[in-house]
């Protein structure tokens, strides 16, 4: 243990602890900007400087390990002056138009300005000399360099968590900036639209592209029938933007709120998540059969899940040779969209051209996905607008709803029915668990051999998880799987996805089925989720997901009555011709830069 003194209070910490963390232990708050719990230390904003007795300069508390006998003061005149200068300097490079900024009131720079730099600015305005650009090319987010404080959180996110480095630091000195490859538009580089950078940007320099106004317009258009679907991970995070603690489920209130906002039908992506399990599970079993029974050597195994559009774009850019290994299933969002303007339209007797299909997603990549040219199976744009969890919270605030006191409501029908299996799609390992619950039962006629259906080996925050399940006692049709060991792997966060892909590429991945989610923790940690994010927050959301599952009556996808019904009435059977037309897709190879 290391003993030090901060503001005259003694504290003991483990070797390697930073001064910042040691101060936190004493509940002494030191402001930070470039520091982020999920990322490596940068030490570049200098906001966290403190005074160390005997040191020539101030030290960056986030970047300096505590040492024995250290004496630290966090609030001396020297520190205060320098800190104020730093905030003022950042503001002088910054286009501070808070009142029209999307991050107004949720901005770390603004909070600091509020503490240290109110009143007249000390320094000259530098913005007028800069040729800042705003990149609106991505359908998912906007990159506004005039709001950037060069903390490099986004760069570290994209490289450390996502292994992409679609953006990097470019130039030096006064011209230093965050840039894609040779300043190309974000829509034309290797970016996966995952939005993890957006989640960690302390300012308005990276924000989702919002479609709130378009959705309001649709809602108020008497000619339109607006359906909305909500992804599983939204209900366990939305509350954070509305005053709840991380991990509080607000499903019923959210449904009610959506009704109050004026959506004509409030439906659940869970329904199509269950459908995904039917389609994807069947696809897996078919591939296994072809490989094991028919001896077809061209079958692409392992099979990868395909519900995470960030992951899809990653593999399209980085490992296009493995596109055949992707399940051809669309993501639940897009399955829903395709059905909304076909099945739903028909059942409800609504002209599909009058349907506006909106989805509420924890994800920014879904905005891109909805825009893909492949996603028009219904003959229309299957999903018209994708809003993030954050945008929904904004709409709720705009409408003046007293969210906390809303009654709980239930989803509309049809396509509003859900199971626990669908809910857990929101957490890493969830798709795998849901698939196993169903596939195992199809093959053996029995429930998965795990207590209370909880397949714990696939749960949790480990970056890469592996498991295997021995298949015994198969029913007649699947007897060729008797005794087989189904090997599976799960990765979340693209840096972990890359680890698995490396193995696959080297031929060292013995798996049959691999679940990959682009975001850390899965969709609960999605790029469209409330800000801030860190491991504890993600864990809380994950816990909420599993408790939502436990509270459901139905916990297996194949038991979802609406799923059963749609096969009977419309799709025939999983992987049918109709399914393929509406629910499956194909992928394209993309450049790796």
């Amino acid at each position: 243990m290391i003993n030090l003194i901060i503001n005259d209070q003694k504290v003991s910490v483990q070797a390697g602890t930073t001064v910042l963390a040691a101060a936190k232990k004493l509940k002494i708050n030191i402001p930070t900007l470039c520091n982020h719990d999920d990322l490596c230390v940068a030490g570049n904003c200098r906001v966290c400087i403190v005074e160390q007795k005997g040191a020539r300069t101030l030290i960056a508390s986030c970047a300096t390990p505590a040492t024995e006998g250290m004496e630290i003061h966090t609030n001396t005149l020297k520190v205060r002056n320098a800190r104020k200068h730093i905030v003022e300097l950042l503001l002088s490079e910054h286009r501070s138009d808070c009142t029209k900024c999307y991050k107004n009131q949720n901005c770390e720079l603004q909070s600091l300005a509020n503490e240290f730099a109110f009143g007249d600015h000390i320094f000259l305005d530098l913005v007028e000399d800069k040729k800042y650009s705003i990149d609106r090319s991505s359908p998912s987010f906007i990159k506004d360099d005039s709001k950037c404080i060069r903390c490099q959180r986004c760069v570290r996110t994209c490289s450390e968590l996502q292994y992409i480095s679609a953006i990097a630091v470019a130039n030096k000195g006064a011209h230093q900036k965050i840039s894609s490859f040779h300043d190309r538009p974000m829509s034309h580089v290797v970016c996966t639209n995952c939005g993890q950078c957006v989640n960690r940007c302390p300012t308005g320099a990276l924000v989702e592209k919002t479609y709130i106004d378009q959705v309001w317009d649709a809602i108020y258009d008497p000619d339109k029938h607006v359906v909305v679907q909500t992804a599983p991970a939204v209900r366990v995070a939305l509350g954070e933007d509305l005053g709840y603690d991380p991990g509080e489920r607000v499903t019923g209130k959210m449904v009610n709120a959506l009704k109050q906002l004026g959506f004509n039908s409030v439906l659940d992506t869970d329904f199509s998540a269950d459908l995904t399990i039917m389609e994807e599970g069947t696809e897996l079993l078919v591939r296994l059969k072809k490989a094991l029974v028919d001896g077809d050597t061209k079958v692409s195994l392992p099979m990868f899940t395909s519900c995470s559009p960030g992951w899809i774009k990653f593999i399209e850019h980085k490992y296009p040779e493995f596109l055949p290994n992707l399940s051809t299933c669309k993501s639940p969002q897009q399955m829903f969209g395709a059905l909304a303007k076909t099945y739903y339209a028909k059942k409800r007797n609504i002209d599909p051209s009058k349907i506006v299909s909106v989805s509420i997603m924890p994800c920014t990549a879904k905005k891109f996905e909805a825009d893909r040219p492949e996603m028009r199976a219904s003959g229309y744009k299957d999903v018209d607008y994708v809003l993030t969890t954050r945008e929904l919270a904004v709409m709720i605030k705009q409408a003046g709803l007293d969210f906390r006191n809303l009654e709980e409501a239930i989803y509309d029908s049809i396509m509003g029915e859900s199971t626990g299996a669908a809910v857990i799609f929101g957490a890493t390992g969830g798709v795998m668990e849901a698939a196993l619950r169903t596939a195992y039962e199809i093959v053996t006629g029995r429930e998965v051999p795990f207590g209370n259906l909880n397949i714990t080996p696939v749960r949790g925050m480990d970056g890469v998880k592996e498991a295997s399940i021995k298949i015994e006692g198969c029913v007649e049709a699947w007897s060729f799987l008797e005794g087989a060991e189904l090997k599976i792997a799960i990765a979340h966060g693209l840096v972990n996805a890359n680890k698995i892909m490396k193995l696959v590429k080297e031929g060292n991945a013995p798996y049959h089925f691999i679940e990959i989610m682009a975001c850390p923790g899965g969709c609960i940690g999605g790029g469209g989720q409330p800000i801030p994010t860190n491991m504890q927050i993600r864990k809380n959301r994950m816990k909420a997901i599993y408790s939502e599952d436990e509270n459901m009556v139905l916990r297996k996808s194949h038991l979802n009555p609406e799923v059963v019904a749609i096969y009977k009435e419309f799709l025939d059977k999983p992987n049918s011709h109709k399914s393929h037309e509406l629910l499956h897709t194909h992928y394209v190879e993309r450049d790796n830069f």
Binding site: N44, T57, L58, T64, K78, I86, L89, L126, G173
Partner: protein
């Protein structure tokens, strides 16, 4: 204060038998080498002035199978050109100094980081390096030197930025601690020394510490190479004993009309005429990596300051706030004051900003921008204001 007067010395460029000196050095234990250098009081000649013996001692104490000795030949400080001259004339001694340092710290590998502006020297240096490698092999010593080139970035002279650059990255200075002696190039214990430091150390091994401490003052032992430029009839390279006053220096090199001397380059201090007599050139007064620029009364100190600030605004790596934005503010600030678009009292705010940069910037660059700024504005305010 001790004052030695201005005395020319011939140490760095002294003709010696390299092989003989190296043979002697390789027979010494590493403790003996380190002790000799410690006793000499030699401080780094690259600008920061850290005791070389200490640096070697710390690095030698690190337990690591792999260590590096890095020779800093990035020489980007405006007004400094002595390292180029040293490499041009006595590269064997530079390589020799590296081998000796390698022996002291337990490194078998040396890297010279040569600034891109000096690439024209590379072919010649390669030939000299080959014969050097041959020579130490003949002595029976195993040590290998490699050259890596810079590509036009002043900040890469900062030691940790230099490592980043060799590692193929942007030359952004690292957080310290850890210091290079613990985690330097490729995160291995590394002693990074200036070109001149290495040659001086070799000469100390040859002549002994006792000989070296005859020169200079208590805080600034020995002699060093000065790069003299500006308004002087005799610009060039001069090896002088440390401890003279600026006045003595100006008497020798001035053109009779010297109004200020910038000691230590853009990141150093501006000494005005009225302080020539009282200012010692050395660590007790104004330290310098060797750059001495003279300005006569025809020069506008505003132009000098503007030129330096422009330099820093471009050459800052840009990662940390105080330096990246601070430089731009100082530059724009003096421009506005000069044009009368900002009040002259705004200079007081800028002086405070310079103070903050000194203590809050991440590395030596941002920390030293205030040196020139404060000493020029402080001494020549009338030339800065409208």
């Amino acid at each position: 204060m001790e004052n030695t007067g201005l005395n020319k010395v011939d140490l760095i460029f002294e003709k010696i038998d390299n092989k003989e000196v190296l043979a002697k050095a390789f027979k010494m234990t590493k403790e003996e080498i380190i002790k000799e250098v410690l006793d000499s009081g030699l401080k780094g000649r690259g600008g920061a002035g850290f005791p070389t013996g200490m640096k070697w001692k710390f690095t030698s104490e690190e337990k690591s199978p792999e260590k590096y000795i890095v020779c800093n030949a990035d020489e980007g400080e405006p007004g400094t050109f002595k390292d180029r001259e040293i490499l041009d004339r006595v590269s064997n001694k530079v390589h020799g100094g590296m081998a000796i340092a390698g022996k002291a710290i337990g490194a078998k590998k040396g890297v010279v980081y040569l600034r891109g502006e000096y690439r024209y020297m590379l072919p010649k240096l390669m030939i000299e390096l080959t014969s050097f490698h041959k020579m130490i092999k003949e002595i029976g010593y195993d040590f290998n030197i490699e050259y890596r080139m810079g590509s036009g970035a002043y900040i890469c002279g900062e030691e940790s930025a230099l490592f980043e650059s060799i590692e193929g990255k942007r030359g952004e200075p690292r957080n310290k601690p850890p210091y290079p002696t613990v985690s330097g190039l490729f995160e291995k214990p590394t002693s990074i020394n200036n070109v001149e430091t290495l040659v001086t150390a070799m000469m100390i091994v040859k002549h002994g510490a006792k000989n070296f401490i005859q020169y200079g003052t208590k805080d600034s032992r020995g002699s060093k190479v000065f790069s003299v430029s500006g308004d002087t009839p005799t610009p060039g390279i001069f090896e002088l004993e440390l401890g003279m006053t600026v006045l003595q220096f100006v008497d020798e090199f001035g053109d009779g009309d010297t109004k200020a001397v910038q000691v230590g380059g853009a990141s150093g201090f501006c000494v005005p005429r009225k302080k020539f007599a009282e200012t010692i050139i050395g660590f007790e007064g104004v330290p310098t990596g060797g750059s001495m620029k003279l300005f006569n009364s025809s020069r506008s100190m505003y132009n000098v300051l503007h030129n330096y600030l422009d330099f820093f605004t471009e050459e800052s790596c840009g990662q940390c706030t105080p330096c990246r934005v601070g430089c731009q503010q100082l530059l724009k600030g003096v421009e506005k004051v000069k044009k009368g678009e900002a009040k002259s009292t705004y200079l007081n705010e800028l002086m405070k900003l310079a103070d903050s940069m000194k203590i809050a910037a991440k590395c030596g660059l941002g920390q030293s921008v205030g040196n020139a700024f404060k000493s020029i504005v402080g001494n020549f305010k009338e030339e800065i204001i409208y």
